[in-house]
């Protein structure tokens, strides 16, 4: 009897753990995906130019902005069980739907280019030329999605997000070797451009769509578990981003690996490749979901390629063209990464405005509707991104 009771208690305990583990997913994957190859190269370049002293503290408010915004997207998914694109079309009208689709398509195309830049860059550190590394990366992404259901991609994402913590020892290594020099500015680039890029780096349009859709697709979503997932993702994001700014500040982008040396340079290259792979999966999947929805063919994430031809055609076209762009001669991965992050600051405000409108619609949200505090926080994020966009236009 006693052993049976112990067994039942153990099963209950395990059930509880499984429920928590099952909730881990969309938020962590979205935020790990945001620390994508382009984002990381951009952070590293920022650290190299300006040191870690100014940009590392800036990451904390930016991380809070990402949490507030993704929480809104998650609540939309939770309240409706549907993706953001079809909700925007239904409740905000066609003008919003086309705006959101255009916004998302432009940003994602640019972002996917930087993911392949990062994956190719990571492989090139191991002697694989870009002309082979980029097509190989593209085939890997297509094969993973064609062969395995979305849930597998998500688990891979969680695993790779954990692997991205590799950046932390590399950063400590660089800091120990560089001493106080990692905190001060080394270069003389445009502070405005890098500041706007850092703000744009905190959030990307695809994350909103991904978060809402992934939460909607889960069977046992609950608000508090979704928030635990998001909070965990935010912490991982800010730690990794801070580490990468410091790695950049310790001179990694120099050809010899600067202050962090060759082995640490290899670890960084693996991390950049991982980040590119996770983000290429999440970015491309969310684009395909949104485009398929806008075209009136919503796809379930669990569907196989043969069951959802429109979905997977959009997907394959998006991924392949982005990879092809990186094969054009004369493109600098670092420059593309910084500029794409800055572009995100311009592309986010319309989507944030639409999301705020949706999150305030009680007919859509029910009990998950925005409170005044959530509106104040969301409004602040919208204002921050708009101001950053204007800063770039006026002074960038």
């Amino acid at each position: 009897m006693e052993s049976m009771a112990a067994e039942t208690a153990r099963e209950k305990r395990r059930g509880r753990w499984w429920r928590w583990l099952a909730a881990v997913g969309p938020g962590i994957v979205a935020l790990a995906g945001d620390n994508d190859a382009g984002g990381l190269l951009s952070y590293a370049a920022t650290g190299q130019q300006f040191g870690a002293g100014f940009f590392v503290p800036l990451l904390v408010p930016l991380c809070l902005a990402a949490f507030v915004t993704l929480d809104m997207a998650a609540r939309v998914g939770l309240a409706t069980g549907r993706g953001l694109a079809s909700l925007i079309r239904e409740h905000l009208g066609p003008a919003w739907a086309y705006l959101a689709a255009l916004d998302l398509a432009v940003e994602n195309w640019l972002t996917l280019v930087t993911e392949f830049a990062g994956m190719g860059y990571g492989l090139s550190r191991f002697g694989v030329p870009l002309i082979i590394g980029v097509p190989l990366s593209c085939l890997l992404v297509l094969a993973l999605v064609a062969r395995y259901p979305y849930r597998t991609a998500e688990r891979l994402g969680v695993g790779l997000a954990a692997a991205s913590l590799l950046f932390v020892p590399v950063a400590i290594w660089g800091w120990a070797r560089g001493g106080g020099t990692v905190w001060v500015a080394h270069g003389g680039g445009s502070l405005d451009l890098f500041l706007v890029a850092a703000i744009g780096n905190a959030l990307a349009p695809w994350m909103l769509f991904f978060q809402a859709q992934a939460v909607a697709a889960r069977e046992h979503s609950a608000l508090y578990r979704t928030r635990v997932d998001l909070a965990a993702g935010s912490v991982v994001q800010v730690i990794v981003a801070a580490a990468v700014v410091m790695i950049g500040a310790s001179g990694f982008l120099a050809r010899d690996g600067g202050g962090i040396g060759r082995v640490a340079g290899y670890l960084f290259a693996i991390g950049i490749f991982d980040a590119g792979l996770v983000a290429a999966l999440t970015v491309s999947l969310s684009t395909a979901w949104a485009v398929a929805e806008t075209l009136g063919h919503p796809a379930h994430p669990a569907a196989r390629p043969a069951e959802e031809p429109v979905f997977y055609t959009c997907y394959a076209v998006g991924v392949s063209t982005a990879a092809l762009v990186m094969l054009l001669p004369g493109i600098s991965a670092t420059w593309v990464s910084v500029v794409v992050q800055a572009a995100s600051a311009i592309l986010m405000p319309p989507l944030l405005a639409g999301l705020l409108r949706l999150a305030n619609d009680r007919r859509v949200m029910g009990s998950h509707v925005n409170t005044p505090l959530m509106n104040a926080a969301g409004g602040l994020v919208l204002f921050g991104f708009t101001a950053a966009g204007l800063l770039w236009i006026i002074r960038g």
Binding site: L99, A343, I346, L347, T386, L390
Partner: protein, 40 residues
């Protein structure tokens, strides 16, 4: 005129809101591209 029709009327605050977003996206996007080309 019900709530939904009012939301979609061109003069309503809602319609103005989305128009402003379009103007932002096109205007700021064009300015961004020009900036990039000039800097290059």
């Amino acid at each position: 005129m019900n709530g939904t029709e009012r939301d979609k009327a061109w003069w309503s605050g809602s319609r103005l809101f989305v128009d402003l977003c379009w103007i932002w996206l096109i205007g700021a996007g064009a300015a961004f591209v020009v900036r990039i080309l000039v800097r290059r």
